[in-house]
């Protein structure tokens, strides 16, 4: 991934463009493949799009949750601190599959009747809460890694606590937190496959259905795996480039 760190701007562009082109055009090369992949090309393309969409929605919400809870864990206000601790403890101590099922089955009985969540929304919420808990620890570690002198300098210059956090602490903490956050995002691409349990037709579900119709698990699951590999590679390239971008000011 050396070129990605050397030309972060280009790498980010290439990864984004590559990902979009891949999702857009995936059905074309797959359609040319022999049985049982060719006839199911559109299904694979749709599944891959759902997987990426699920990852992006849950991933970006998870970052926001992670930052909020990470800051909350360092709050001087103890009830907030306890609340964030409890959240992380709860999510990390229970299986993701259980969390997905819980949101899917419990949400209708908790929410008012006129709000109906789609299967996709349930999966996105559960995944966001899950990755958010893991992100919380990364963000907290990142914030703790920022030297106290940076805060003192900002405060001495008259910046408010909020300005100090947004302009000085958060950007510097991201440099430390980003590799771990990227790791979580790459896991999320794969974890999103658990959404198949609540009938979200994402990539794994597509693979499962196609092999169930064709009785040819090997080519079907190999194809599915290759698509996952391409997706995770795009996401890690993207985050590596972002890391390099944030790294400015660290090396001489």
């Amino acid at each position: 991934m050396n070129w990605a760190t050397r030309y972060p701007g280009w790498a980010m562009f290439a990864a984004m463009a590559g990902l979009l082109a891949f999702l857009w055009g995936l059905a074309i090369p797959l359609a040319a493949a022999p049985e049982p992949i060719g006839p199911a090309a559109e299904q694979f393309a749709d599944g891959a799009r759902i997987t990426v969409w699920l990852t992006l929605v849950a991933g970006s919400s998870g970052i926001v949750i992670g930052v909020l809870a990470g800051v909350g864990k360092l709050s001087r206000f103890w009830p907030l601190r306890r609340l964030c601790d409890a959240y992380v403890w709860l999510i990390r101590g229970t299986p993701l599959l259980l969390q997905i099922l819980f949101v899917w089955l419990a949400a209708p009985s908790i929410l008012p009747e006129d709000i109906v969540l789609s299967d996709f929304a349930c999966a996105a919420i559960a995944l966001a809460l899950n990755v958010g808990a893991y992100n919380t620890e990364c963000v907290r570690a990142g914030i703790l890694a920022v030297p106290w002198g940076q805060v003192e300098a900002a405060r001495a210059l008259g910046l408010t606590p909020v300005q100090t956090f947004m302009d000085v602490v958060l950007p510097q903490s991201m440099r430390v937190a980003l590799p771990a956050l990227a790791n979580n995002l790459a896991s999320l691409v794969k974890d999103s496959s658990l959404a198949y349990a609540i009938s979200v037709v994402e990539l794994t579900m597509v693979g499962y259905r196609v092999q169930a119709e064709s009785y040819q698990p090997i080519p079907v699951f190999v194809t599915t795996a290759v698509i996952y590999l391409i997706l995770t590679t795009a996401f890690t390239t993207l985050t590596a480039a972002l890391e390099a971008q944030l790294n400015t000011g660290q090396q001489r």
Partner: protein, 257 residues
Amino acid sequence: MNSPAPSPDTSLRPIIEARQVDKRFGSFHALKKVSAVFYEGQVTAIVGPSGSGKSTFLRTLNRLETHDSGEIVIDGIVLNDDLKNLDAIRREVGMVFQSFNLFTHLTILRNITLAPMRVRKMERAAAEQKARTLLERVGLLSQADKYPVQLSGGQQQRVAIARALAMDPKVLLFDEPTSALDPEMVNEVLAVMRELAYSGITMLVVTHEMGFAREVADRIIFFDDGVILEDTTPEVFFTQAEHERARAFLSQVRHGF
């Protein structure tokens, strides 16, 4: 026989008044009812052995340390838990740290423009113009687009001084500004500070640089064990310090350098 304290000249306006300031860190009594008045335009060197309370005293003046009791008034504003007062004071009091504390993720130029833009709501163009002028003053205009890590310690400290000046502070606090520097870089920082001292800004400098204190300061305060032991002019302090403790300290640092 009291050494004559610098006379509160009627033409001088008090800008910092500390009365009976007390501070403990757990069982350690860092400041014991310290009182001092600092006047506009005055350059004060604060000296003393390590752990004597001189840095703590300086840091209470912009509330990087909170004092336990006593009163600090800066330019007529009482320093207390009122955040409005605190923000008003921090806008008027600049600080230069021993470890520079430049923002590592920002360029030199952005380091200087950040506070004027956020706190004083300056336009970016005006803030950058001002930053360049200040960088020229400290001799580092060519480094504007670099990051702090690319500069030497002496250069970083000069940027830190420019950053503090960008807020147009009435008072500049220096907390051992040359202690973290290699010997050959000390002079470039002292030169900038000397130029500042003659420009008429109020300066409080915690330092171990006795040569600088003697040459540039109007007033010397000697801290020992949480109290101000001597408060006098450099001439008196360096030739006929009143307390044995101060004379012992002086002979120590002279041998040390």
